[in-house]
Amino acid sequence: MKKDNLQIADKVFTSRLFTGTGKFSSSEIMQQAILASGSELVTVALKRVELENDNDQMLGALKDPYINLLPNTSGVRNAKEAIFAAQMAREALETNWIKLEIHPDPKYLLPDPVETLKACETLAKQGFVVMPYIHADPVLCKRLEEVGAQCVMPLGAPIGSNKGLKTQDFLEIIIEQSRVPVIVDAGIGSPSHAAHAMEMGADAVLVNTAIAVSPNPVEISKAFKKAVEAGRMAFNAQLAPQRDKAEASSPLTQFLYE
């Protein structure tokens, strides 16, 4: 069987499980959990990093040849701030990858579609690899694709809620229509949710809270790793169809033979 890697911009990933760095009880646990997950792309909130400090504890814990850092703009409220944050991240972390998160609402952290589209267009023109976190809005996803997003990251449920794929119907449309990778971000609370997203044809999932807040982050990381692999394998193999009930009625094609 040919290799089933995921490519985004110039990078090739063997793991389709992306992870985050927030909410862990310690840097050590975070490090162990991320390593156990096999994740090769790990998002870091720029606001959490001590940019002046060369020995930032979180960044130190993520120094691994397989791990790529994905700075995110969490905390910004509009396009202007996001663009500034992305430029800062590029300088400080020496990467042109940026996870674009613009949530003016501090309670549910729901993304602002208008500002996200604006920021994405500008950042893509400036040569950033933009990965926008957005609502499961199929039209917005196409618009982002058109202005140069390298993938789209629609949410499954409100961030941190662990409620699973509440937006399933819309995610399915996005997956069907998209010409860039679709990464389900936010809401994935259990390995079965992750597997489900992968079975539906998502290219990857991003999981943070469900790992960080579990009583056993390292063990649950391993479970997520297996779930994502199993879901992907099932997608490639194709699921057996659910059976419809047969309905009897008068023949519709008899006229061909009369």
Binding site: K142, Q238, A240, E247, S249, T253
Partner: protein
Amino acid sequence: MNSFKKLLAEYSWDRELESIFAKSDADVQFALQNRKRGLDDFKALISPAAKPYLEQMAKQSRQITKNRFGNIMQMYAPMYLSNECQNICTYCGFSLTNKIPRRTLTDDEIKREAEFLKNKGYDHILLVTGEANSKVGVDYMSNAIQILKSYFSNISIEIQPLDQNEYERLIQDGLYATLVYQETYHRETYKIHHPKGKKSNFDYRLATADRLGRAGIHKVGIGALFGLEDWRADSFFTALHLKYLQKTYWKTRYSISFPRLRPFSGGLEPKVEMTDADLLQLICAYRLLDEDVELSISTRESEVFRDHVAHLGINSMSAESKTNPGGYVVEPQSLEQFEISDERSTEVIAEMLHQNGIEPVWKDWEKSW
């Protein structure tokens, strides 16, 4: 820049044809039950292996069409504006070398034809020409659309392929849709049937839907002319084209037609026969692949066939069509592009649809958009 040409180059005709014929009974059963059908399922559904499942396909196709479109049929009428043509196409009555009187409708004649169709109830109209860029070019079409705008809500064209900026101009004038059939996706066979004229350029024609998408048109119609090559392979490539266009130009709607070679004066015998059962299988396969795509049937097909497919997947049809310029009132006896088969009047077709529990829809567009 996106182009279907690039995608098509990744495929081999022979390999696809072979894989269609290799589809098994199990592949067909899988495709029938698959919730999210893809091109591989489409191949199974158009394969010979699906023939024993035609009744089941028809049932599903009927149900999907009802769910998506309701009990309605979009009605349209073609209006031939000109039979001038600089192309040689082996299968067409308007071909350059056919010694027929050539005629292009004047403004006044266009209005007379329009009045006839308007009185019949039509509000969606399809303007058809040959390919004569100097006589019947963009200026002529622009003028025709502007005249016809005051009669009809929805204007489509089936004319020679144009450049993007030319489409943009016609869209500004009020053009809604463009139909452009590749005839066959088999490059070498295409060459044989289009030896001369601008149409002999396979790639320019192939890229037409891309140009239309970039121009921001509302609807694009694609299809193959059945009889030139194997209908199964041509249909697979049409479906591939459809899926590519839907993803790339996502604001545009799409329509598929299924023209089979029809007799005309001095005409061509089909290389590959497509039976009624084959055509029904194809229509159902398209509907099972795509709930939303418009499936359109013209008066090329017989009364019996049209009466039945009207509720088995088709959601757009014409009636009482004339395939000669001025054919409705101006000059009914001029030579046709091809002979139509179902010659019943619009009123009879509307009554037939009503009998089948289907409402003919005449207007489904607002021209001020």
